[in-house]
């Protein structure tokens, strides 16, 4: 068994650290304070100021080392302070003091190191400014590590060494992340732009910097957003049986590695720098493919730049059974070029393909196009037709709801099948997660007011994998908090990615229910809000702000004759196995469910009977979780806000009350 722990002594105190920990971290862990200048907790240590020197004894050999960048690889003996070290630090401090006599941090270090004679090393290089640049290099490292740029650097040698931008001009590549100013120990770099007149720019900057530091230090080991963007979850979803395959029948596929993030990174991604979609953000999640030669369509033969692919695009392609990375990129390009959402296109085509394979439609309906799963070229043909308003593409362009209604009228014998497999609710196609094994996610999707988009509530891992919201009440609470939280930051124009696509190193300190919220990052958002508006927020205030809008969205839906109870019921494919092959693919799971949860011995039943029992049970469970969620949201059994709830939220205007009461009356009549 490999040991990763090392025991060492520091000032005769024995301590244990993880192999590779820097000596300075080990020293600080024992609450021993030694002077540092160029070191910053969020930056890679450089050791250039040399103030943190300590003496180590390694296999009987003593030497002075800079502790900030000395990785402990074996058991050593350390002294953080002795006469040799003190003399070394004092000499350094005297030199710093001679050159920067009025810089507060230098004065403080000089005091600590008992360096009092500021004239000893005074020279023509001495700078009298209290905010002089001391050439510590923190800003250069911050630019490179936080934002992956080299906007500022040292120029000149020896006494001419100074900090500058290229050619001493403002570099247009600077995204204004302010990382350099954040880490500057002297105030030599200051932020002069205060866009949008924020109430407290410092508050915004400090919390933005926390995210930048996490991206630099944690992202490489967490989600790899800088490396591959959202595509990182292609392989994760496949591994956890959640990647939609063949119109959400299955959750993984043997060919997924052909379209996962590793392939994209190795052979295709050529761009991945911060694109400033959010001012100053260092997440750099956007990726692009340069010089991609198109094989079809009006730009056939052209070499183009493709923005993506992101996870949802790859998921849409796995849903169509198209595991060809060059198809994924071409599909991505043409959807973008034609102004088509890759999610809706992917889900619609997956539905069409299943209908084609089931014999609901034939080449007579598609204008001769054979649309089996995996028919990459044919998908592109439909896409080009759609853009030109020609042929079968015109029908595809109208989405799943249109198609299932049309074909059900034409071929009523297939109606129930089409409604089971047509993955839409409220007229919107489901996004690319296979939710049938997560009750909370089924509701998260289907109760979303805009339709089954995952950005209101993405609860699959909490529910299906972690089993941390087992009761209906637990699920209802998650279906209350997460949609409101996500609606809230969307309303503020804040990006979701920096909430949970990087996580604080110590998020584990929270119990799981709290950890799932990532409290430090929720706090970041509150501080961004406070920094802009001057208004302090807490969870209750935030949720109430959001609930007003969320309920108004619901009321507007009701006013338009939408958002009725029927619209909150998912197609059965989202809930359980529609076909025998689906049941067989997870037979062990479903048989276990029959036996342990439903109380029926599966061996005595035919597969049709088993599917029927599972369906009855699962739909019943869905209705229960839906009702629990309605109750938690302050809505009635028809999913309509109660007048009491509108009063609580301060939106009980007569016009709104009239709408909800009318909708309630109609719901009572029709149910």
């Amino acid at each position: 068994m490999e040991t990763k722990k090392i025991t060492l002594t520091i000032n005769d105190i024995e301590t244990t650290i993880v192999k590779g920990t820097t000596l300075l971290s080990a020293i600080n862990k024992l609450n021993i304070d030694i002077p540092t200048l160029c070191h910053h907790k969020d930056l890679t240590p450089s050791g250039n100021c040399r103030l943190c020197v300590c003496e180590i004894e390694n296999n009987g050999k003593k030497e002075l080392v800079t502790s900030c960048n000395y990785p402990i690889m074996n058991s050593i003996k350390v002294e953080t302070e002795n006469e040799k070290i003190k003399k070394h630090r004092q000499n350094l401090a005297l030199m710093y003091l001679g050159r920067y006599p009025n810089v507060p941090i230098i004065q403080e270090i000089a005091r600590r190191c008992e360096a009092f004679d500021s004239d000893l090393y005074k020279s023509e290089l001495s700078e009298t400014s209290a905010k002089a640049c001391i050439l510590c290099g923190r800003c250069i490292r911050a630019c490179e590590e936080f934002i992956q740029e080299k906007i500022i650097s040292f120029a000149g040698r020896g006494i001419n060494r100074h900090l500058t931008m290229p050619f001493s001009e403002v570099d247009p590549h600077c995204v204004g992340c302010t990382s350099c100013a954040y880490v500057c120990p002297t105030g030599a770099i200051q932020i002069v732009d205060q866009m949008n007149n924020p109430a407290n720019p410092e508050l915004i900057r400090n919390h933005g910097m926390k995210v930048n530091a996490e991206m630099a230090n944690l992202d490489p080991y967490q989600c790899r957003m800088r490396e591959v963007g959202t595509a990182n979850i292609v392989e994760v979803m496949d591994k956890y049986d959640l990647l939609p395959v063949h119109n959400y029948k299955f959750g993984q596929h043997v060919d997924t590695p052909k379209i996962d993030s590793k392939v994209m990174k190795k052979h295709y991604f050529t761009q991945g720098h911060p694109d400033q979609c959010w001012h100053g953000c260092s997440m750099a999640c956007a990726k692009a493919v340069d010089g991609f030669k198109l094989k079809t369509g009006p730009y056939k033969g052209h070499k183009v730049c493709v923005d993506g692919p992101e996870y949802e695009t790859a998921g849409g392609c796995s849903n169509m059974g198209c595991f060809d990375i060059e198809f994924v990129i071409e599909f991505n390009f043409y959807c973008d070029t034609y102004g088509i959402d890759t999610i809706s296109m992917g889900t619609t085509m997956a539905f069409v393909m299943e209908a084609f394979e089931a014999g609901v439609i034939t080449t007579k309906d598609t204008g001769g196009i054979k649309l089996n799963f995996g028919a990459c070229h044919e998908v592109l043909e439909c896409l080009h037709q759609l853009s030109k308003g020609e042929g079968f593409g015109v029908e595809v362009g109208q989405g799943v709801k249109f198609l299932k209604e049309k074909w059900s009228k034409q071929k009523p014998q297939f109606k129930s099948f089409l409604y089971d497999i047509g993955m839409e609710a409220k007229g919107l196609e489901y996004s690319q997660y296979m939710c049938k094994e997560s009750l909370a996610q089924q509701a998260g999707y289907t109760l979303a007011l805009k339709g089954p988009q995952h950005d209101e509530a993405w609860l699959i891992f909490m529910d299906m994998v972690n089993n941390q919201i087992p009761s209906f009440e637990d699920k209802a609470e998650a279906l209350y908090y997460f949609p409101l939280f996500r609606t809230w930051f969307g309303l503020q124009g804040l990006c979701k990615i920096v909430w949970n696509d990087v996580s604080p190193a110590d998020n584990k300190k929270h119990p799981p229910q709290q950890a799932a919220k990532i409290p430090e990052h929720v706090d970041n958002y509150w501080k961004f809000f406070e920094g802009m508006t001057g208004i302090k927020l807490d969870e209750e205030k935030m949720l109430n702000q959001s609930a007003r809008v969320h309920n108004l969205q619901k009321i507007i839906g009701l006013m338009l004759g939408r958002n009725k109870l029927i619209d909150d019921i998912p197609p059965y494919r989202a809930v359980g196995p529609v076909t025998k092959e689906e049941y067989e693919s997870r037979k062990e799971r479903y048989d276990k469910e029959l036996k342990e949860k439903i109380g029926i011995e599966p061996t005595s039943l035919s597969i049709e009977e088993k599917m029927s029992k599972v369906r009855e049970y699962r739909m019943n469970q869905y209705h229960k979780v839906m009702q629990a969620a309605f109750k938690r949201r302050g809505w009635d059994q028809y999913g309509i806000p109660t007048v009491e709830r509108l009063k609580q939220l301060g939106i009980d205007r007569p016009f709104f009350i009239k709408i909800v009461e009318k909708a309630r009356h109609e719901a009572v009549e029709s149910n």
């Binding site: 068994m1 490999e2 040991t3 990763k4 722990k5 993880v18 080991y221 967490q222 989600c223 959202t230 990182n232 979850i233 994760v236 979803m237 591994k239 956890y240 996870y311 997660y433 995952h454 950005d455 993405w458 609860l459 699959i460 891992f461 909490m462 994998v465 972690n466 089993n467 941390q468 087992p470 949970n500 696509d501 996580s503 998020n507 584990k508 300190k509 799981p512 950890a515 799932a516 990532i518």
Partner: protein
């Protein structure tokens, strides 16, 4: 026998580590928090932390994406 996430049961073996459990469960996720009988296990201890028989193990995946 040990219980994972109050649901899945695994046969216990002597000197079973947290890493063994993650391997058996097929958990390869990058943002995982593990507790054994409510005691937090740090990442660096996955190879050395011995899980006792009848333990309740929580393998909490912090959702990203979505």
């Amino acid at each position: 026998m040990i219980t994972v996430n109050n649901r899945d049961q695994l046969d216990w073996t002597e000197n079973m580590t947290v890493r063994d459990i993650l391997k058996l469960m097929g958990h390869t996720y990058s943002l995982i928090t593990v507790t054994v009988n409510d005691q937090l296990v740090e990442d660096e201890d996955y190879d050395s932390f011995i899980v006792p028989d009848h333990a309740f193990v929580s393998v909490f995946h912090l959702a990203h994406g979505g």
